[in-house]
Point group: C2
Chain length 270, copies 2
C-alpha cells in the first residue's frame, strides 16, 4: 500500500504537466490552462505537418508515443482519439494507427457529397474525369482573398468535367496557389486516375484535411450549358468549396456546378 501511495504522489497530474510544460509556449499573463493531451495533440499535429509520417503510413504504437512524450498510455490515447475524430488519423485494431489519406479511402470521394437518387451508389461506376483546361494565371482580388494570397500572385486554374455513366454531371473550376503546386500540369492531371486530393498528397505533400462549402442554386450560363449539354438557365447547384491543410491554411478554391436531376447533395445533420 505504501508503495502504491508513493507512486501516486510521484505521478500525479501536476508533476506530469510540468514535465511537458517546457514544450509549450510561455504563457504571458494568460493562465490559458491546457490539458496535457491537448499539448500532445499539438505536438502530433506538428509531426504530421512536418511529414514525419506520410499519409497511409503507420505511426508508432500508443505505448511508444506515450514513452516518447513521457505520459501515460491513457493520455496518449486521448490525444490520438481526438486526432482520429478529426479524421487526421485512422485506428485499426490489432494493426496500428495510420495517417489518414485520400487514396485508399474506404469511400473514394471523402469530400464529394453528390450521390445518385437511386439509393445504391455502388451500382454507379467510378466517375469519368476529363480535364478541360489548365493554365497559370494571376490571382484576382477575390481569389487572393479566399486563398490567403496577394492580388497578382501566381495561381493555377483548372477546369474539369465529371461524368457518371457517360452523362456529364459536374463542372468544376479549381484554383490552386502557385507556389505549393509548382510543376502541376494539365498532362499530369489528365493522366492521373484517382481522387485529385490523392495526387496532391503524393506529388506535392499537400494533405486536404477540412473544407467549407457554400451552396446556392444558380441558372446555368452559356459556357456551362454547352459543357454539360443542357439548356441555358437550367438550375444548377453551385458549390463553392475552400479546402484547408493542417493549421487551417487554405490550399484550394473550387467552384462546382452540379446537375441535380439524377443526383442530389446528401447531408447529415445532428
Amino acid at each position: 500500500m505504501i508503495d502504491t501511495m508513493a507512486k501516486n504522489e510521484q505521478n500525479n497530474q501536476k508533476s506530469s504537466t510540468v514535465a511537458v510544460d517546457t514544450l509549450t509556449a510561455p504563457d504571458f499573463g494568460a493562465p490559458a490552462f491546457s490539458p496535457l493531451y491537448q499539448q500532445i495533440k499539438t505536438l502530433m499535429l506538428q509531426s504530421l505537418q512536418a511529414g514525419e509520417w506520410k499519409p497511409g503510413e503507420a505511426i508508432p504504437s500508443e505505448m511508444d508515443l506515450a514513452t516518447r512524450f513521457r505520459v501515460s498510455q491513457g493520455t496518449m490515447r486521448k490525444a490520438i482519439d481526438e486526432l482520429s475524430a478529426d479524421n487526421l488519423l485512422v485506428r485499426r485494431q490489432g494493426k496500428g494507427t495510420f495517417v489518414a489519406t485520400h487514396a485508399e479511402s474506404h469511400v473514394q470521394y471523402r469530400f464529394l457529397k453528390l450521390v445518385p437518387d437511386a439509393g445504391d451508389q455502388n451500382t454507379e461506376g467510378p466517375a469519368d474525369r476529363r480535364i478541360v483546361a489548365c493554365k497559370k494565371i494571376r490571382a484576382t482580388a477575390e481569389i487572393a482573398k479566399l486563398l490567403n494570397l496577394r492580388t497578382g500572385d501566381p495561381v493555377l486554374q483548372a477546369q474539369r468535367i465529371l461524368s457518371f455513366a457517360g452523362v456529364p454531371t459536374i463542372l468544376e473550376d479549381i484554383w490552386l496557389p502557385g507556389i505549393p503546386f509548382k510543376g502541376l500540369t494539365a498532362e499530369r492531371l489528365a493522366q492521373y486516375h484517382g481522387p485529385m486530393y490523392a495526387l496532391f498528397e503524393t506529388e506535392f505533400d499537400v494533405r486536404m484535411v477540412r473544407a467549407v462549402e457554400k451552396i446556392r442554386a444558380v441558372p446555368s450560363d452559356e459556357e456551362q450549358s454547352l459543357l454539360l449539354h443542357i439548356e441555358q438557365k437550367t438550375p444548377l447547384l453551385c458549390v463553392e468549396r475552400i479546402a484547408f491543410t493542417y493549421k487551417d491554411i487554405p490550399m484550394e478554391l473550387r467552384k462546382g456546378y452540379y446537375l441535380t436531376d439524377t443526383h442530389h447533395y446528401r447531408n447529415e445533420l445532428s
Copy 2:
C-alpha cells in the same frame, strides 16, 4: 502489493461485464461483443426516450450514474461522452450534464444551415415566421414511405414562409405523422414564437435528434414564385429533410425551398 493484486483480480473487465450482461439481449449464436460503456449508452438512451429526464434538465452526476449502473466513473464517463458527441447530452463543467434541447440552444436554429452571405449573421434579426396553411390529410404513398407510415394514415401538413429583414426567403412544406402530433393546429403554430422543434419538445414530447437532407437545384413553380415574390423558374435550393427522434424513428418530412441570392447553405466537411 498483494492487496492491490487482489483488487485487480476482483474488479477486472470480465467480472464487471457479467454484472451487466443480464441487462443485454441474449446473444443467439452471434458473439457480438459489446463493451460495457456501449451497454450503458443503450440504457441511457432508453431513459432519455422514456422521458426520465426532460430536455433542458440535468441528469444525475457521473458518480451517481456510475453507482446506479455498477461501473466505474471512467466507464460511465465514456458512455456520457458518446451521448454528448451525438448531441443528445450537453456537458457543462462545474454545473452538470443536461439533456440537449432545441429551445435554449446557443445557436437558435440547430438544423437550419442557411446563413446570410455577409459574414456576420448576428446583424440579422430573428426570422419572421408566417404559417400559410395547416391541414389534416392522408398520407400519399411517397409520404407514407418516408415517414414510415402506411398510405392513407393521418398526416398533418403545414406550409410556412420565413422572411429575413422582411424579405421572404424560405418556403417550407412540412408533414408530420398524425398520431404523435395529435392536437397540433395552425393557431398553435402561428402563436408560438421560437424554433418549431422546441414546441415539439414541450407540447408533444417529440425530440428531433438527427436529420438527413437531400439538396437539389430546381426552378420555382407558379405557387412558389407567388409566395416568394420572384419570377417563375427562378432557381431555388430544394432541401428535403427527414428528421428523426431517438431510435432513428422518422418524425418529420420537410421540403424547403431556399432563395439563395442573399443567403447560402453552409456546410463543413472533414
